[in-house]
């Protein structure tokens, strides 16, 4: 786990020799990049086509007249932009809850001595390995049948306020533990209490960790299908992921049927759904890469 943060650096100067092998490797690198990029291009083309251009064989490789109105049209079929807003609300509240609570808990584990601390920390670490499927069913009954939180965003956001995931806590703890103790001592002598120390000194120092974890939290909430699927029964409350499924069933059930040329709207919806992820990726690319190296977390 203690991998060094080195990917951001330029590559080491390896043996530079022009050869047929290098040429081949470079061409392969570029060809694969085009291949990886192609589904995005195709989604954009699809989203901008007219219905009658969708099932032409061979397919048109570009939209003759880009139909930007498809992005409005998709909002007329279903309140798709409302789903976008719902997703933003859940993502923002849930991520903030996760960051606040896991940083507090991480601070507790890093800076205070109390009985049972090490045992509790080991327990916390083992919960990382527990598959969510094991706790899913009782948790569902608790939220929906005991607490009556069905059809609300509470079951999605409340858990993040309670410890915010073992992994975030672990990362915060590791980071806080690496801060020299003298800083805490000096702050104490100046009459700075634990809460003020956390707010004024620890949090500003941990911006890189906060941003890294914020990205992971964002991805968790933004991509989540299972949570909204089981808790948000009212279609009105859908998120982007369940909204896309609703869009597909409203438009005829599936891709792949001849005659139901609705793929342009499905592609428009898909683009809306992934655009925020991609924008955030470009804005914070460095932290994405750093986060992966630090955590080994897979998206």
């Amino acid at each position: 786990m203690a991998v060094q943060l080195q990917t951001a650096q330029p590559p080491k100067a390896k043996r530079v020799n022009f050869s047929l092998f290098n040429l081949f490797a470079t061409l392969l690198t570029i060809a694969l990049a085009l291949l990886f990029f192609f589904p995005f291009y195709w989604a954009v083309v699809g989203a901008l086509k007219q219905p009658n251009e969708l099932q032409v064989v061979p397919p048109l490789l570009y939209p003759p007249v880009p139909q930007w109105k498809n992005f409005i049209e998709v909002g007329n079929v279903l309140p798709f932009y409302r789903y976008l807003w719902n997703t933003i609300v859940i993502t923002v509240i849930g991520s903030i809850g996760g960051l606040v609570s896991s940083s507090l808990v991480g601070y507790g584990f890093a800076s205070f001595r109390f009985r049972g601390r090490n045992t509790l920390f080991v327990i916390l670490l083992t919960t990382i390995a527990l598959p969510g499927e094991v706790t899913m069913i009782p948790t569902y009954i608790l939220f929906v049948n005991v607490l009556g939180w069905g059809n609300s965003i509470l079951p999605l956001i409340v858990p993040s306020f309670f410890g915010g995931g073992a992994f975030s806590i672990f990362l915060f703890r590791q980071f806080f533990a690496s801060i020299p103790k003298e800083l805490n001592d000096a702050a104490k002598i100046d009459g700075c209490g634990p809460l003020r120390y956390y707010l004024r000194i620890l949090l500003p120092l941990s911006m890189p960790v906060i941003i890294t974890l914020a990205i992971l939290w964002f991805q968790f909430y933004w991509n989540d299908l299972l949570g909204p699927l089981i808790y948000l029964t009212d279609q009105e409350k859908s998120t982007i992921t369940t909204g896309l499924l609703a869009l597909r069933s409203t438009l005829g059930g599936s891709f792949s049927r001849r005659g139901q040329a609705m793929d342009h709207l499905l592609m428009a919806g898909s683009l809306i759904g992934m655009l925020p992820s991609i924008l955030i990726f470009f804005a914070l690319q460095r932290y994405f890469i750093k986060g992966v190296i630090m955590t080994g977390i897979k998206g």
Partner: protein, 322 residues
């Protein structure tokens, strides 16, 4: 602690040391209180949202609990039913094992290939890395949509191109024999994501002088790859393998969206089966048993890998990291 043992303690000194001890312990108590206060959110969450549900789901797995009817003790019948009565259980398990066996090694190989390609002097390296990475940040629902569109059998782009070359393309997501390979292809689209980045970091940690020495000794590229790159990278490969297998066992979203488990249950994976028993049939007892079986399977696989790892994972410092 700093007192010298030769010094006799007077009564006054003793009492002062006692009060000091008490004061210290008050500070320690205060510290303890703060500590518990800060970890309280997690402690509550752990008891209410992890430990409690774990115990309850274990209990339910031994009951017949068809919601909303009350749970009735059922012994190990759910577990027996899974292996003897439920025809879909072996189907789901087999599909999942198939998916794990193919998607994980292929995914690792693809990620490693991309990392090797990027770990060279290359103009526009950062741009290429970005292009490789982006598919992995796309929500799984969206990537399933993009692939459904690309691989649509009749007018989709892929089959249209194949047709242009005189090949009749398969039914992809709609074909019993092709649906799992197509889902694996979808997983491979994300090969340039976190796994590749971890490989890239591993590659950059290999000391260059090893290659220089090998070159002096006249080792070719392939030999260098087998004798230096792979052994030096084995801890990284191991990490990606373990996490990759766990993730692959839990495949859900891509299949739920792209195929719904079909056609003819050909892509009906384990978690889909669990989900259906839980959310569709409200068979909470059986679904709980399925969850615990999955947990045990994952633990066994991970334990086997940890055991086998000693034979092929090379740790330079001989202090197994990770």
């Amino acid at each position: 602690m700093t007192q010298s043992t030769t010094v006799q303690l007077t009564g006054a000194q003793l009492s002062s040391s006692v009060t000091r001890k008490r004061r210290l312990s008050r500070v320690a108590l205060l510290e303890e209180a703060w500590g518990y206060l800060f970890i309280l959110p997690w402690l509550l969450g752990f008891v209410i949202l992890t430990l409690g549900p774990m115990v309850i789901s274990l209990y339910w797995s031994f009951t017949k609990y068809e919601f909303p009817l009350p749970a009735k003790w059922y012994g190990v019948q759910n577990y027996i039913n899974a292996f003897t009565q439920d025809d879909l259980f072996p189907t789901a398990l087999w599909n999942t094992v198939y998916y794990v066996i193919f998607s994980v090694p292929l995914g690792l190989a693809a990620s490693l290939l991309l990392a090797l390609l990027l770990d060279r002097k290359l103009p526009g390296r950062a741009v290429l890395r970005t292009v490789y990475y982006i598919p992995s940040i796309v929500p799984a629902v969206v990537s399933a949509f993009l692939f459904s569109y690309l691989f649509q059998p009749e007018y989709g782009l892929v089959n249209s191109m194949l047709k242009g070359w005189g090949i009749v393309g398969p039914g992809w997501f709609n074909s019993v024999s092709w649906v799992k390979p197509t889902l694996i292809l979808l997983a491979l689209w994300g090969a340039g994501g976190p796994t590749m980045i971890i490989f890239l970091a591993g590659l950059q940690n290999i000391p260059t002088d090893l290659y220089e020495a090998a070159e002096v000794d006249g080792a070719g590229r392939l030999q260098q790859f087998w004798s230096i790159t792979l052994p030096m990278l084995s801890p990284t490969i191991f990490f990606n393998l373990v996490t990759g297998i766990i993730a692959a066992f839990k495949i859900f979203t891509a299949a739920y969206v792209a195929t719904g488990g079909g056609p003819y249950y050909a892509s009906y994976f384990y978690v889909l089966h669990l989900f259906n028993n839980f959310f569709k049939y409200l068979n909470m007892g059986y679904a709980s048993a399925l969850a615990w079986i999955l947990f045990v399977i994952i633990m066994i696989f991970t334990a086997i890998q940890l055991k086998v790892a000693r034979r092929w994972v090379y740790y330079e410092s001989e202090t197994a990291g990770f």
